[in-house]
Symmetry: C2
């Protein structure tokens, strides 16, 4: 029997499509193994091909823009937003526009062209997470920015155009729509229940257990009750915390561990698919959003989005989260 | 200079990516020419391979489920929602679910396997539109349904799995999220301005002119100021009307004409790309949404969606609407 499910934050209904139910073998396979490239601008020795680095994890005696780094962040050579200039808003009749002020950076996660996140050592993976936080802190200081988005596209189907492992960071002059809706959903729940909706979700997941993938001391990984996509998986801190910026050293170590663990499980179960992940956190410097609870959402790219999703905002999902979680748990 | 633009209905900002600006030749090409298939279940003579037809445009003396039809609507053989059963809502701890009651139909737009919408005669195209309305009227009578979605996926990249030209109709037990947001956006604008936001948009488009693609007596086709996708095009009735159900015979003729015209322009300019279109109309029987203004949104599938869109709800668009409109206008 098909089932409609509603998520408690957005109030978004999804259709669980039991008639086209899909397990891991029912999705078309992709090969995302890196091929050695002679001209990769992200490889060590070609630091001169990128804009000047803005941050890095590298030995303290090694100069910027030379090799020897473990993680390296550079401005995107073709940014979607400009970092120079002043912020201006303007009306165009009934329409609004503003100048595209922002930052767009690339965080190169490893010097090794052949490695993906799943193959990094613990120390290397931890360096990626601490670099995320370092960029967050740095960009937060610019008062023109209202929100910082950290996300990763892995594989061509997920939008990656360079295969050398990397994440992207975009700082925006406004809080984007989906984030704002999520914040408002969390606020509304807090007002009516006096509790954090994400904390309640965690309790519910422990009670039901069937959607849990894996956990460690600081984090829970689970497939959400009303996912938008098959095998969608969230990683959430067990303790309430609005803002990723507050994650301390041990929390970062635990995040590195569980993120890599979940990515390995996705790779094992689904055959190295393309994926996106995205860090959801409270907007910069807004005390008002203390009711929020930061987390990471991971979406394996297993099927094309179709007209129905953008047209009606209604996702049709071919894999129940308890089945996805079981496959990932047993991987 | 990159530019952020906000649409007046949703309040959704988009990034106009001037650094990666794309014209028609910059998108990868697809071949969506139909290949003759021996076993297509939508071809005449194979009516027994589909569930029993629920509606058709066919000569009055020709029985259902036989050949001779011009347009034919059948239940989807693998529906995402069930048409039998009663509507039940249930709480699952903090989560909500309801039974997947609804209708899922396929509207076969031509008996000819080799034709696409752009190749239909005027009479055939008109028959498609009047069949849309006929299904709308019929499904509106079922009090379990709150919303009817008519949409078309053309080409594999847009999610079409059968190439024989067809649309889909889904009747839902609730109003989906994106539709509800659009309705609320229109209502908020009406409350503060005392006017329809879509009527104001039409005035603005006539004033600016640069985003207009084509028009006829009843409809305007234009590329919206803050599109989510390159070459996104809307077709909207010039006169205020909340509900597609009210479109009379001459309006249907004009809609058939302009829809086919725009699809031909997209094909000529972009080389027969995959596309989705979707009819946005007021929910069934709700007088309260008289402030709404029905329309069709057409999205050519030219690039993959990436992490940033689902993660932040922020679209990065490589083609300014005035450029897209110019290409389509001159096609």
């Amino acid at each position: 029997m098909p089932e409609l499910r509603r998520d408690p934050v957005f109030g978004r209904w999804v259709i669980m499509d039991s008639k086209h139910s899909k397990g891991p073998l029912d999705f078309s396979k992709e090969d995302n193994t890196p091929t050695r490239q002679e001209i990769c601008p992200f490889c060590p020795g070609r630091e001169y091909q990128t804009p000047h680095e803005v941050d890095a994890v590298r030995p303290s005696n090694s100069p910027a823009d030379t090799s020897g780094w473990m993680v390296r962040t550079v401005p995107n050579k073709f940014p979607v937003l400009n970092s120079d200039g002043n912020f201006q808003k303007e009306g165009m009749g009934i329409y609004d526009q503003m100048t595209g002020i922002g930052a767009h950076e690339v965080l190169i996660e490893s010097p090794d062209h052949d490695k993906s996140l799943t193959e990094l050592t613990k120390e290397e993976m931890k360096a990626v997470i601490s670099q995320y936080q370092s960029r967050f802190r740095q960009l937060s200081k610019d008062s023109r920015f209202k929100y910082v988005v950290i996300f990763k596209n892995f594989g061509a189907s997920a939008g990656a155009t360079i295969e050398h492992t990397h994440s992207q960071i975009i700082a925006l002059p406004m809080v984007p729509k989906t984030v704002l809706e999520e914040l408002k959903g969390a606020e509304a729940y807090h007002q009516s229940h006096g509790r954090c909706v994400f904390c309640d979700m965690i309790s519910q997941e422990y009670q039901d257990r069937e959607r849990i993938v894996v956990e460690n001391n600081s984090f829970l990984a689970f497939c959400p009750y009303a996912p938008r996509y098959a095998f969608e998986t969230w990683i959430i801190p067990k303790g309430h915390n609005a803002d990723f910026v507050h994650a301390d050293d041990i929390t970062q170590t635990h995040l590195a561990q569980i993120l890599q663990d979940v990515l390995k499980r996705i790779k094992n179960v689904l055959g190295n698919p393309s994926y996106n992940y995205y860090l959801h956190t409270a907007p910069l410097g807004y005390v008002k959003w203390a009711c929020y609870h930061w987390h990471i959402e991971i979406i394996p790219k297993l099927s094309r989005s179709v007209g129905f999703e953008w047209g009606a905002g209604l996702h049709i999902v071919p894999t129940f989260p308890q089945d996805a979680a079981r496959y990932l748990r047993e991987a």
